[in-house]
Amino acid sequence: MGIDRRAFLKIAGLSTMLGLGGKAALDVFAPGEVEASTKGVPLTAGKRWAMGIDVRLLDDKVISEATAACHRHHNVPDLASAKEEIKWIWEEDYEHSFPGHQHEYVGDDIKHAKFLLLCNHCSNPPCCRVCPTKATWQRPDGIVMMDPHRCIGCRFCMAACPFGARSFNWGDPRRVTRIPELIAKNPGFPFNKDYPTRSKGVVEKCTFCVDLLEKGEQPLCVTAANKIKKGSFTFGDLSDAESSIRVLLRKRYSLRRKSELGTNPNVFYLI
């Protein structure tokens, strides 16, 4: 004989409760996974900006010119202190650029190569997930933007970023115009009178030169580096299969920093 109405209702109620509890338990045990699965999906609308850096073409001149072009345009001061350092783009050695990749038998050309690091504008940016004020967020074109008007200086994003791409203003950056030993290091600060400085207590980082992209130009490090070594930097739209960056990524093998962390970096190092 089949079940009666009472038994059916009991079973239905119990299974509903289990279903609800089971879903909640899943959320509690794996919140990261649930969020990541929605955030990690790359947006297909519009463009997806990415950068390719040819490691073979990086030399001291390219590195210093690209860094100077960026830091001068964005009024990034030289504070002559590793603790207070502000950096948007910076030089690093192989071991610290690609920890986990290195082993004792790596050839000297790579082992002693210099790399240029910057914000990776990850497709799954952990910094944006932890920001309590949405002062940093991901634009539809993939750029991880920073709104210093909204930043409260909590530095959660700095703790979240596995690439050290964010710098905190421990003091007013304009102090470089007042402290004698820093004046000499920053002649004419602010270098670019058309770009703001930052204030004490906000975090800053590379913006992929969003102001220039919106004018139809390329980021400054790309332009500066390509002036010295053509093809050392490539910048383009990942969503277009025939864009320069996509063609290059098909042709050459590339590394991304700490890709095992799942942040999906958009700066590619061509080996």
Binding site: D147, P148, H149, K193, D194, P196, T197, R198, D211, K215
Partner: protein, 128 residues
Amino acid sequence: MYDGGKIIAGLIIGIGLLMSPFFYNAGKAAKEPERALTDKAKQAKQCVMDKAYMTSSHFSLLDEWRHTVVRDGERYYKRADGKVFYKSLQVTCMDCHSNKANFCDQCHNYMAVTPYCWDCHIAPEEKK
């Protein structure tokens, strides 16, 4: 009322003391500062909105501009007559109104407001 005379006298003295700043400053109201326009601003004749709106609500416009520029990436503003402006306090506004001391600060001091724009944005250099 016990000791009515003392209480009333005390009240009069007390209220008199409280009101003394008003009597002391009566008729000496600070004059509303006059907006000084640079030659460039005078020549342009019209700002991005009409004068009345700019006087009363320029901060709302600036707030909207910074929001749409930084957060939405909309960098251009079209005036009612079709003229297009690059939305930037530092580059566009201060290009015409390069006399920050007489144009911004004077009025902000009068109204006792201290906007923090200039903590980051760079003010144009002025001849003293």
